[in-house]
């Protein structure tokens, strides 16, 4: 336990900072990230315009690709990892994501139901007459 504490003590690292400080490895990380991000971006633009795939699957595919690319950016550009030195950063990120999903998911969910349950606009106009 004490060993573990000793190892962790001076190793909390800042978001954006990396553990290794070898310049070559750091550049390689960015190159890999750029390659993956370009690949995912190209796939997104291709999927959006193609009729090769089942059409209703396109929105889902686009959202999955976007989330994957955000993950690539987080790991390779912002250096958010699952390492023990990154716990604080990951926890902050997790809380941020929770709020994001509550806001976006909640709005879409509630407003979708409101739209469904509302009278069509012309009937509302008639009721006011």
């Amino acid at each position: 336990m004490s060993d573990h504490m000793q190892v962790r003590a001076d190793h909390d690292i800042a978001p954006g900072d990396e553990e290794q400080h070898n310049v070559g490895q750091r550049i390689l990380g960015y190159v890999v990230g750029l390659g993956l991000a370009l690949l995912l971006t190209a796939t997104s633009f291709f999927i959006a315009g193609t009729d090769l795939v089942w059409q209703p699957s396109i929105p889902v595919a686009l959202i999955v690709l976007a989330i994957a690319q955000m993950g690539v950016h987080l790991v390779f550009f912002l250096h958010i990892t699952t390492g023990p030195d990154n716990t604080n950063n990951v926890l902050a990120l997790a809380f941020g994501l929770l709020v994001v999903f509550l806001v976006v998911g909640g709005s879409v969910w509630i407003m979708g139901h409101l739209n469904q349950n509302m009278l069509p606009m012309d009937q509302i106009m008639q009721m006011h007459r």
Binding site: A14, V31, T41, M70, F77
Partner: protein, 213 residues
């Protein structure tokens, strides 16, 4: 006090019974600063998520005006996306150069980042001006209001980022790679990468999903 005492009689305590684990103390300033900025960035992303939510709800409320598929040009969006992605990469190169205190590569990386960011802004500004000239300004429909506010908010962030970038170049020029300048540089890199993440959401949800529907 007790720590030094413990360390002092280490040789008379072979089993380390009196060993006090040295408390690490506060984290280095670099970590604290970057963590605070990381929390700010997450709150910024939460703010963007509100604009995204508004856009998702209002995307179909075109009030007889144009739909997304009628006004979006995918070629422009692709160029903007590549610009921002490459600028994220060059920003990473500049921050590595700053860490190893190499002025030439730092200025080169920052200049390329700045140029790519300005190309992005120019394309976006032209798109907005074109839409307004055709009568499709933000007051035309709820869809256009949400579109202009979401994309415009991201554009404002990029503009602020470009100003910050120039400030960082000036600071390195005037003050060199001091510790405080390096901390600001790290925060700038975080900011720029986060903007790219937001843009991934924008081009996927607003432009690609919007032109499909």
């Amino acid at each position: 006090m007790s720590m030094t005492a413990t360390a002092g009689r280490g040789h008379s305590d072979p089993h380390h019974i009196g060993l006090v684990i040295e408390h690490p103390g506060p984290a280095p300033k670099r970590t604290v600063t970057a963590y605070g900025f990381w929390v700010f960035l997450l709150s910024d992303i939460v703010m963007f998520s509100c604009f995204f939510a508004a856009h998702a709800v209002l995307a179909d409320q075109t009030a007889g005006g144009p739909k997304g598929s009628e006004i979006f040009e995918q070629r422009n969006v692709a160029i903007e996306t590549v610009c921002l992605l490459l600028s994220s990469f060059t920003c990473g190169m500049a921050s590595i150069a700053a860490d190893v205190r190499n002025r030439f590569w730092f200025y080169l990386g920052m200049t390329v980042t700045c140029v790519l960011g300005m190309i992005f802004l120019a394309i976006e500004f032209r798109e907005f001006a074109d839409l307004v000239a055709r009568g499709y300004g933000p007051s035309r429909s709820a869809f256009l209001t949400s579109f202009f506010s979401l994309v415009g908010c991201h554009g404002l962030h990029v503009s602020a980022g470009v100003l910050w970038l120039l400030t960082m170049m000036a600071q390195v020029f005037a003050k060199g790679f001091r510790a405080d300048v390096l901390r600001r540089m790290m925060c700038f890199a975080l900011f720029w990468h986060a903007l790219d993440i937001v843009w991934v959401g924008v081009f996927s949800v607003v432009y690609l999903l919007g032109s499909g529907a």
